[in-house]
Structure formats: structure tokens, C-alpha cells
């Protein structure tokens, strides 16, 4: 469903991706692991059009996003493609990024009503059922600031799901949470995965990555150093770098 081919990206003079290739099939769950600054977030953000890249192509369901230096790149076409991709892919951020001036309910209904143009009543019905799914239906009228971090992140997930995405990108969804709240968020993600949602998740939760993913990629300095099934990566990593990285986490 998501196909990344020959991705080149540099920040200023600093190269990040050097011809990265990755394919994510429908229904698969890809865990992206690696040290900080390895490009996990940037990779997800490139897919969703929040970051530009110089060369290569990212294709989502046949919608092709080209690097700015590619021959096929044109600004207007790209803007249109990005919209199509964002309609298909939901994203959850490390910092939740809920809209602080709206209630939980309005955070969720905002895009369906204003972007998809469905009626408010219908959007609210969907929102309530999504809130039930993340076990927060009683917080519908609260403001984000009145929620804990874990609750906020669950609302953010419900907000992304309200757009009925075909795939979800999780950008370190638990990294800014207190330890006791990590579990409640991961449970929601787990539920979602079990329903067959195509998912990419950048995470430092190795246990979780091992339990829910179908594929794992280990990223370092923008390169996929190792890829494979969770079993293979976590039990028997081939690469020296992967071993060192995992040894620090799996104690």
C-alpha cells in the first residue's frame, strides 16, 4: 500500500536518507526502531507530506509523491497528491497536538465536518463511538488541558480515525508520556492493529514492537541497517549495530 523508492533527503548540507527503499503491504504493521536522530520521525513525516525530500518517490495507493528535484515534480500536482494521501493516512504525533480551544468532541468532529462535509450529527455519532473505542466517552465535553497525557493521546488517535483512514502513522506516540500511561495508549494501538489497520509506528517500546508488528526495520543515520520479522530482529539480530542498540533496551 505504501511504497518508498530511492528516497533522498538532506537537511541543508546534512544528508539524511540516501536512497531508502521500503514497501508496506496492506494490513501489515511496520515498527520503525532506531536511536534518536536516526530519521524515524522524518520518514513518517515524508510519507504524510509534512516534510519535503529531494529525490525519489513515495507512492500511497498509486498516489505518487515525487522529490522536489525529480523530473516529474510539479507543485500544483504535488499539493493535490498530498491531499489525497492525507485523506487515506491518519497520523498521531508525539506531542498529541490536540486543539486546545476545542472540546474533545469538537477536536474529533472538526475535520469530518469541515473537510469531508458530513453533517454535525453524524460526525458526533461517529466521534462518540470512537471515544467508546478508546474508553473516553465520558470526556467528550472536556477540554484537552483537563485530560492526562495518556487520555490526550487516545483522543488524538480517535481524531485521526474519524477521517476513516486506510493506514495510520504513529510518530513515537508514547515518548512524551509518563510510564504509567504508556500502557493505555499501546492497548488502543493494539486493538486497532488487531482489526487489520495498516500501521507504521516509530517507537522505543521494544516489547510492544515485538508483540504487535509484522515487520521491523532498524534505522540508523537514515539507513535501514536491518529489516525482517520481529522474531528475527529481536531474537537473532544479524547486524552488529542492531545488536548493540537492542542490548541496551532488552534487559
Amino acid at each position: 500500500m505504501i511504497e518508498i523508492s530511492n528516497l533522498f533527503k538532506q537537511h541543508g548540507q546534512q544528508p539524511l536518507f540516501n536512497g531508502l527503499n521500503l514497501e508496506v503491504e496492506k494490513g501489515s504493521v511496520v515498527a520503525v526502531i532506531g536511536p534518536s536522530g536516526s530519521g524515524k520521525s522524518t520518514l513518517l513525516r515524508c510519507i504524510n507530506g509534512l516534510e519535503y525530500f529531494q529525490k525519489g518517490c513515495i507512492s500511497v495507493d498509486g498516489q505518487k509523491l515525487y522529490g522536489v528535484n525529480e523530473q516529474s515534480y510539479n507543485k500544483a500536482g504535488e499539493d493535490y497528491t498530498v491531499k489525497n494521501i492525507r485523506r487515506r493516512i491518519g497520523m498521531v504525533f508525539q506531542q498529541f497536538n490536540l486543539f486546545p480551544h476545542m472540546t474533545v468532541l469538537n477536536n474529533i468532529t472538526e475535520a469530518p465536518v469541515c473537510v469531508m462535509g458530513i453533517s454535525r450529527a453524524e460526525a458526533e455519532a461517529v466521534a462518540i463511538s470512537l471515544l467508546q473505542k478508546v474508553h473516553l466517552e465520558e470526556k467528550a465535553q472536556s477540554y484537552p488541558a483537563q485530560l492526562s497525557g495518556g487520555e490526550q493521546q487516545r483522543v488524538a488517535i480517535a481524531r485521526a480515525l474519524a477521517m476513516k483512514p486506510e493506514a495510520m502513522l504513529f510518530d513515537e506516540p508514547t515518548s512524551s508520556l509518563d510510564p504509567e500511561m504508556i500502557e493505555e495508549v499501546l492497548l488502543v494501538v493494539k486493538d486497532l492493529v488487531s482489526e487489520g489497520m495498516t500501521t507504521m509506528i516509530a517507537t522505543h517500546e521494544m516489547g510492544f514492537a515485538r508483540d504487535v508488528s509484522t515487520h521491523v526495520i532498524f534505522l540508523e543515520k537514515g539507513n535501514i541497517v536491518e529489516r525482517g520479522s520481529p522474531k528475527k530482529i529481536f531474537s537473532n539480530p544479524k547486524n552488529k549495530r542492531t545488536k548493540m542498540f537492542l542490548s541496551r533496551f532488552m534487559k
Binding site: 507530506g49 492525507r86 504525533f93 480551544h101 473537510v115 477540554y143 484537552p144 488524538a156 477521517m163
Partner: protein, 508 residues
């Protein structure tokens, strides 16, 4: 500049400390009253003369060829008086509205500046015998044939100078729409721009400004004759006597006539100056009907002040609305526009922040007609204030918008929202909350700055106050009442803004 002085004056009046000084001053002048000013003038060799050169030609004004030099028929008179006294003249520029007040305070020895002798002024100062017989002259556009005499002014829009006998005459006619000006040039300018139908002013002014202008024409006989006198502090009888003798002398010697002829203000009416004794009796026994005493009663001044307050509120609200909308457009142009829109917005902001509001108002009202755009005073006031404050508002919005974390935009983008939608639904509501406290600040500042529009013939609260105060000489009580009116209007605004802020803050 003149109006900045007045604004400062009000601020001063309400400050308690200054009030104490003020009272001390009064007591001091009372105590020292018996130390004769005439003695003082003679022993120091200096006669201090209070006037307002802003009032203009042909009384006292800056020589266009040598701007540092003062000329005018009154300059010549004062020089003659000083020569007779054997002393030198020291000039004291003072705003005309408060000239008698400054005289009482002891800022100068004599006030001589086209001050009409009226019975209400005689309550507070002592006048010498008249040195000039004035009359009111109607001036119209040369092309206008509707107006021939004073009665024709009924139902018309007529300009005059404020705190003058002419203004009171017009007001007593009942149905004349009176526009009051502080400078002598502006009413004639507005007359030629069709903003008003006629001007009624003292003859010398009409003669000096209207006669050389081919667009304007003086019509009818001068009406409402009255007298200019030299004002001294009430207890200075000796000085007044001395001045009377000098006026008599230069009148009989023909020097006064020569001065008037030189300035083109001599007419046969001036012969009446010779009827000294009889004349004095005439104007002290039965003062001209147009100069009835203005008693300071609530019923007299409150309606005027409230009317002024209404204008102030109207102008403030409308210009703030303009400032909010225009400021938002400027901020968005600067933040999201292309290079050219950004430059336009930046240039606008720098220009409006870097030049005085007063100059902007003058350009809008008196400058634009030169390129064919004639705005009414009300529109010019709203545009002037609104466009000025838009520059400040836009910077507040820009700061507010930039304070919103990038993550908000990214989250909205990932939800497929368009840039415009994000701005409207996500960024601006949050930025607005940040902007409320500085916006309240600006609105209150604008509210007070609205007093500046009196320079373009708008009569709002401050102007109403200064006119009432100048007419009744009651700067203190009226000043307190006016300040309270301002405060009574701005304080609820602060409370409301605080409440709004609290309400919007409820979500974090």
C-alpha cells in the same frame, strides 16, 4: 501641538499633586495681589505679554518670510504700549482657550489677543478700555447665491472659531449646524471644499483670509459689534488705569489708526473707540445680548459633555472595528503573503507607527482635498484612527499567530485541512486569545487618542470640555467630571476584557 498641550492639561488637572500646586498658585497670586504688577513691570523693565500665534493673522502670527519673527497689528500695539511704559516686551505663547486662565495664574502680565470683552469674562479678569471695535462677518463661496445676511444662515452648516462671540451668535440662532475650529485657516479651507456653507468670524479674520481668495466672498454688513480689550488680573487696577491712559494716548495721536490702516483693519466703526467714557458705561451696564453669562449648572454643561462622549464612543468603536479588520489583513499579508504583499504590509506598518497620528489626521482631512479626495470630518476621523491603530493591531496579531506551536498546523494538515481552514479554525481562535490583553490596551489608548480628532473639527468629549471650560473658566470641576466620564467609559471595557480573557482561558 496646540492640542497636545490641551491633552496634557487635562492629565495634569486630574493628577492630585498638580491640583495641590494649582491651589497653592491661586493662593499665592491672591496674597501677592497687592504687590503691584505695574510696579514690577517698571522695576524689572519687562512687560510679559500672553497671546496665541496659532490663532493667526492679522492679529499675531509668524512672518512667513522670517518664521522666527512675530508680526501682526497686536504686535505693533503691544510694542507701542511697551514704549510708552519704557520697558521691553517679553512674549509668552499660550493656547488661546486657556489664555485668561494662564493670566490668572500669573504666567504673564497682560493678555492681548483679540479677546472680546464679555460680561462672563469680566467675572474673572479686568479689562482695559477697548482698543478695537470688531464685528462679525459672513463669508460664503463666490459661487453660492443663497446667503446674503445673518438670517439666511438658518438651517445651514456654518463654520466659526470656538469660544468666540460669533459661535455664540450662531448657537443662539437655534437651527444652525455649527462647525467649530481652533485655527483660522481651516474654516475657510472647509468652506472652499463645500464641507460647510458659510463662515462667520471677526471682521479682521475674514478680511485677511477671505478677501484675497477669489473662491470666497464676504456678504452682508458686519453684525454683532463688540470690543477687544486688554485683560489683566482682576486686582490690577493700577495697571489697567495706566494701560487706559496709554490706549487713549495712542488713539488720540493717531498711532493706533496708522497701525490698523497698515494691517487693513481700519474701518469707520473704529471711530467709536473715541467715545471712551460713554462707551464704557454702555458695555458695563448693558452688555451685548450675545454675551450672556454662562452659569455653570449641571443642566447647561452635562448635555454638551454627554453629546461629546457619545461622539467619542462612536468614533472609538468604529475606528477600532476598522483597526481590527485591517490589522488582521495586514498581519496575514505579512505572514502568509508573497514577497510583494509582505513588503506592502511591512511598509504600511512602519509608516503608520513611525509618524504622528496628528500629522496623519491633517493629511487625511486637509491634505487629501489637494488631490481631489474630500472626506467628511467623521469619516476622516475614523479612517485616521483606524488606519493608525491597524498598524499596531497587526503586530499584535502577528505575535499571537507566531506563538501558536507548529504542531497545531501539522496536526490540522494531517487531518487534510486546507491552509485557509487551519488559519480560520485553528490558528486565529488561539491567537485571538493571546491578543486580547494587548488589544484591550490599544482600545483604551485609542479611546483616549480619539481626543486628537478635534483638530479636524470633530467635537468630541475633550473638545466639548475645553470649549465649556474656556467659556466658563471652570477648568477644575469640568475637568474632573470629564475625566470621570472617560474613566467611566474605559473602565467597564477593562472589566469586560478581563472577563472575556478568563472565559477563553477556561480550557487550560
Amino acid at each position: 501641538m496646540k492640542h497636545m498641550n490641551r491633552k496634557h492639561f487635562i492629565i495634569r488637572t486630574i493628577s492630585i499633586l498638580q491640583i495641590c500646586f494649582f491651589m497653592m498658585y491661586f493662593f499665592m497670586t491672591d496674597t501677592f495681589a497687592y504687590q503691584d504688577t505695574l510696579e514690577k513691570i517698571k522695576s524689572s523693565g519687562v512687560l510679559t505679554w500672553g497671546f496665541d500665534a496659532d490663532g493667526g493673522a492679522p492679529y499675531v502670527f509668524h512672518d512667513p518670510k522670517h518664521p522666527s519673527k512675530l508680526i501682526g497689528f497686536e504686535v505693533d500695539i503691544v510694542e507701542a504700549i511697551a514704549r510708552e511704559l519704557g520697558v521691553k516686551v517679553q512674549n509668552f505663547q499660550n493656547e488661546w482657550d486657556s489664555i485668561l486662565l494662564s493670566l490668572q495664574r500669573g504666567d504673564f502680565d497682560i493678555a492681548l489677543n483679540g479677546i472680546e470683552i464679555t460680561s462672563d469674562r469680566e467675572q474673572s479678569v479686568l479689562f482695559t478700555r477697548p482698543y478695537f471695535v470688531y464685528a462679525e462677518q459672513i463669508v460664503v463661496r463666490d459661487s453660492d447665491n443663497r446667503i446674503h445676511r445673518l438670517d439666511d444662515l438658518h438651517g445651514k452648516k456654518v463654520g466659526t472659531l470656538y469660544n468666540t462671540v460669533a459661535k455664540r451668535m450662531l448657537e443662539e440662532m437655534g437651527d444652525v449646524a455649527v462647525s467649530t475650529y481652533s485655527g483660522q485657516v481651516e474654516p475657510f479651507k472647509d468652506l472652499s471644499l463645500n464641507r460647510i456653507d458659510a463662515v462667520l468670524v471677526d471682521l479682521p479674520i475674514a478680511f485677511y483670509y477671505a478677501a484675497p481668495n477669489p473662491q470666497l466672498r464676504m456678504v452682508g454688513e458686519p453684525v454683532g459689534e463688540g470690543y477687544y480689550g486688554i485683560a489683566v488680573r482682576k486686582e490690577e487696577t493700577a495697571l489697567a488705569e495706566e494701560l487706559n491712559i496709554i490706549i487713549e494716548k495712542i488713539l488720540r495721536s493717531g498711532e493706533l489708526k496708522k497701525i490698523y490702516e497698515r494691517w487693513g483693519v481700519w474701518n469707520t466703526s473704529q471711530e467709536k473707540l473715541f467715545l471712551h467714557e460713554g462707551l464704557l458705561q454702555k458695555y458695563t451696564e448693558s452688555p451685548p445680548s450675545i454675551s450672556e453669562k454662562v452659569p455653570l449648572r449641571v443642566t447647561t454643561f452635562l448635555p454638551t459633555l454627554l453629546k461629546g462622549a457619545l461622539v467619542t464612543v462612536g468614533i472609538s468603536i468604529l475606528s477600532m472595528m476598522l483597526a481590527v479588520v485591517l490589522g488582521l489583513i495586514l498581519a496575514i499579508m505579512r505572514l502568509y503573503g508573497n514577497k510583494w504583499l509582505q513588503r506592502v504590509s511591512t511598509a504600511y506598518i512602519e509608516f503608520y507607527r513611525g509618524t504622528p497620528l496628528l500629522i496623519q489626521l491633517y493629511i487625511l482631512y486637509y491634505g487629501l482635498p489637494n488631490i481631489g479626495i474630500t472626506l467628511s470630518a467623521f469619516i476622516a476621523a475614523i479612517l485616521g484612527l483606524g488606519m493608525n491603530y491597524a498598524a499596531y493591531e497587526s503586530e499584535i496579531y502577528r505575535a499571537g499567530i507566531q506563538a501558536i506551536p507548529k504542531g497545531q498546523t501539522e496536526a490540522a494538515l494531517s487531518l487534510c485541512m486546507s491552509g485557509r481552514l487551519i488559519l480560520r479554525r485553528i490558528i486565529l481562535p488561539q491567537a485571538f486569545r493571546i491578543a486580547i490583553p494587548p488589544m484591550t490596551n490599544d482600545f483604551i489608548a485609542l479611546f483616549k487618542d480619539s481626543s486628537l480628532v478635534s483638530v479636524i473639527a470633530m467635537v468630541e468629549l475633550t473638545k466639548s470640555y475645553s470649549m465649556l471650560a474656556a467659556a466658563s473658566m471652570n477648568f477644575f470641576q469640568l475637568g474632573i467630571i470629564t475625566a470621570l466620564l472617560y474613566f467611566g467609559m474605559s473602565y467597564p471595557l477593562s472589566i469586560y476584557a478581563r472577563r472575556l480573557e478568563r472565559k477563553l482561558k477556561s480550557y487550560d
